[in-house]
């Protein structure tokens, strides 16, 4: 037996292993040149995208600090930010404009990253914390705490509790389907609607406590944020975002499916749970600052993917940056460009988000997509 075996081995090996190599070489040498520059092109795109994003963020931040009831030149506003210049300007910039802008940046970053994580985790371009009810749950948690008279620094804790509750509800109702795409989205929309109704009920029931922030919790708004709130949620957001970047490797391995991921030594169920909780934390902290803002988490991963191609750790970081730019820009539009006074930023993002969601749904159910 061993002799025949050895014979077969050497015969087959020398027969076509070399032929294989030759073939793959000749088949690809033509394409190699443009492809390896393609990788460099992606890298250039990422750098360009990051630079543009940072510049845009800085420009928008400056703009948000300079414009308002009392317009001031950019130099004055930036000096006022660090406490120099006219005390009136310092008060306006430091206590009103800066916390609002920083809240928009922190919440936007959290939403962008949360959307990115959720869409990869569920392999579903429709997955996002606002579609799945997580931001709705977080808003309910925050509202419940405010109604109970808790201090504003506790809002993130309430939001987190509410977000986890929403994720739990989603799990209970959508579990049997093995997390099938349509069922997840439909269940999420139902959970979101139910939680939004509960928020409205709270606002009607506790009008005095919630009078000042009703719009924030129903539509999403960063109006009137204070430093206490920003530090609370922002302080937790930074480690959450760092964790997301570190856990990107696990996301990438999960992309290979449960069997391959398991064979690579990843405990898939617990990794999924950890990543889901992480996404809930990111989205809930964002909601603690801005309420149930829609569209940002849904759209940002698509925008980033469009520019940088398949997801990497860099694209996760870019999602955070893009989310921040998007929410800050939307808030500026709401605050300064629209003729309607007191419109919440959530109204703008929802206006953009509705057709976006519709387009995604249509593309998902188109025959071309289904056959893939």
């Amino acid at each position: 037996m061993s002799t025949t075996k050895g014979g077969s081995m050497s015969a087959t090996k020398s027969g076509s292993a070399s032929a294989t190599k030759d073939d793959s070489m000749s088949a690809t040498t033509v394409a190699v040149r443009p492809k390896s520059t393609a990788r460099a092109r992606v890298r250039r795109r990422v750098t360009l995208f990051a630079t543009t994003g940072l510049l845009a963020l800085f420009a928008l931040l400056t703009l948000s600090l300079t414009t308002g009831e009392i317009p001031m030149p950019a130099g004055t506003a930036l000096r006022a930010l660090i406490g120099l210049g006219d005390p009136g300007d310092v008060l306006v910039v430091q206590e009103f404009r800066a916390p609002r802008s920083v809240a928009a940046i922190v919440a936007g970053a959290g939403l962008g990253a949360a959307g990115c994580v959720l869409q990869r985790l569920f392999r579903n371009p429709l997955a996002s914390p606002d579609v799945m009810g997580i931001t709705g749950g977080a808003s309910l948690g925050a509202v419940a705490l405010i109604a109970a008279g808790a201090s504003p620094t506790l809002i993130p804790v309430g939001a987190l509790g509410g977000g986890l509750l929403a994720a739990l509800l989603l799990g209970v109702f959508a579990w049997g389907s093995g997390l099938a795409v349509t069922r997840l989205v439909l269940t999420g929309l139902a959970v979101q609607a139910g939680l939004a109704a509960a928020v409205n009920l709270m606002i009607v029931r506790f009008p005095a406590e919630l009078a000042g922030s009703a719009l924030q919790w129903t539509t999403g708004s960063v109006y009137g944020r204070t430093w206490a709130e920003v530090w609370g949620a922002g302080g937790a957001m930074v480690p959450a975002l760092a964790t997301a970047l570190v856990m990107n490797r696990q996301l990438a391995v999960l992309d290979l499916g449960d069997d391959s991921a398991g064979a690579l030594g990843l405990r898939t169920s617990s990794a999924r749970l950890r990543l889901l909780v992480l996404a809930v934390v990111l989205a809930s902290l964002a909601a603690a600052l801005a309420g149930p803002v829609t569209f940002v988490a849904l759209a940002v991963p698509h925008i980033v993917r469009f520019v940088t191609g398949p997801p990497t750790a860099a694209s996760l970081a870019l999602a955070g940056l893009t989310g921040a730019v998007l929410l800050l820009a939307s808030d500026l539009v709401v605050h300064h460009l629209l003729p309607i006074e007191g419109l919440p930023v959530g109204a703008v993002t929802a206006t953009l988000g509705a057709p976006w969601l519709l387009i995604l749904m249509l593309r998902q159910s188109s025959p071309v997509q289904r056959s893939q």
Partner: protein
């Protein structure tokens, strides 16, 4: 020690999906340092056994041991450093490039915060080189041909740098040329890199050609195990696959080759009548 290294064995192994017993009371030893082929009819539990051997499925009873230690008592990472698996239908992430895919094979070697190391890159480059996919490294995997894609996936398992490699039907959906490519690659991994390979195969002739050791399953139970030349005969094929056949030495390699009897003969008619029918219809098969 070298004789028993990378030896997988099962003791009284039961594997279940829910209430259904798929593999029952299996006592099996897969020799280390060899190529083992697991064969058997559809739904006989071949893939399930492979999932049990690689810890993806917990046994309902019994144990799976690797060099004597229970794999379910090892950490997932420890096992992943010793054993790689290519599933039957792996999920290719959208638009991922060959190199990005292969890099994921380094996952068990990386600590939470450790950066990509020179050793990682070396393992990836070697895996690409060995599988002949180095020139494809920047190509998206989902645009490759079936054979190239399978080689990219094998490269991932190679980058994992394990002594033991489990392959679940690595040749399915490939044409003959690419089936041979993959099997030749497996043979080379064994011969040149000293890997222990356990693979599920459909084709008995290919299993006999490429494997040192053969495990035949029927209805989740062990039907036979041993060297292909000792195991594979007409009686076994009849009892396991319910096919009348002749087993002859492969004219190329001398390994056993299964040649099914003609249709007429398998229906119990005399060969002469089958010959006559074939002559009459011009072909061996008629849609009757």
């Amino acid at each position: 020690m070298t004789a028993t290294a990378n030896q997988l064995s099962t003791q009284g192994l039961d594997l279940r999906y829910g209430d259904r017993l798929v593999v029952g009371e299996l006592d099996l030893t897969l020799p280390g340092g060899a190529v083992t082929a697991i064969v058997g009819p559809n739904a006989c539990g071949k893939s399930t056994l492979l999932r049990g051997l690689s810890r993806l499925l917990a046994p309902a009873a019994g144990t799976v041991t690797l060099d004597g230690s229970d794999i379910h008592r090892m950490s997932a990472r420890t096992l992943a450093l010793r054993m790689g698996l290519l599933p039957q239908q792996p999920v290719t992430p959208e638009a991922i490039t060959v190199e990005a895919l292969v890099r994921l094979g380094r996952y068990p070697h990386q600590r939470l915060l450790s950066p990509w190391s020179a050793a990682d890159q070396k393992a990836v480059d070697e895996a690409l080189e060995r599988t002949g996919t180095a020139a494809l490294r920047d190509h998206p995997v989902d645009r490759l041909s079936g054979g190239q894609r399978q080689r990219a996936w094998i490269a991932l398992a190679l980058a994992q740098d394990t002594e033991l490699l489990l392959l679940d039907e690595p040749t399915t959906f490939l044409d003959l040329r690419h089936q041979l490519d993959v099997l030749d690659l497996v043979a080379a991994l064994h011969a040149e890199a000293g890997r222990t390979v356990v693979m599920v195969l459909h084709d008995l002739g290919q299993a006999a050609r490429y494997a040192d050791h053969m495990v035949v399953l029927k209805d989740g139970r062990l039907a036979a195990a041993g060297a292909p030349a000792d195991v594979l005969d007409a009686e076994l094929v009849k009892s396991v696959f319910d096919v009348d056949c002749r087993v002859i030495p492969d004219p190329e390699t001398g390994t056993p080759l299964v040649v099914p009897m003609s249709r007429g003969a398998r229906r119990g008619r005399e060969p002469e009548r089958a010959e006559a029918r074939r002559a009459e219809h011009g072909r061996g098969l008629d849609p009757g």
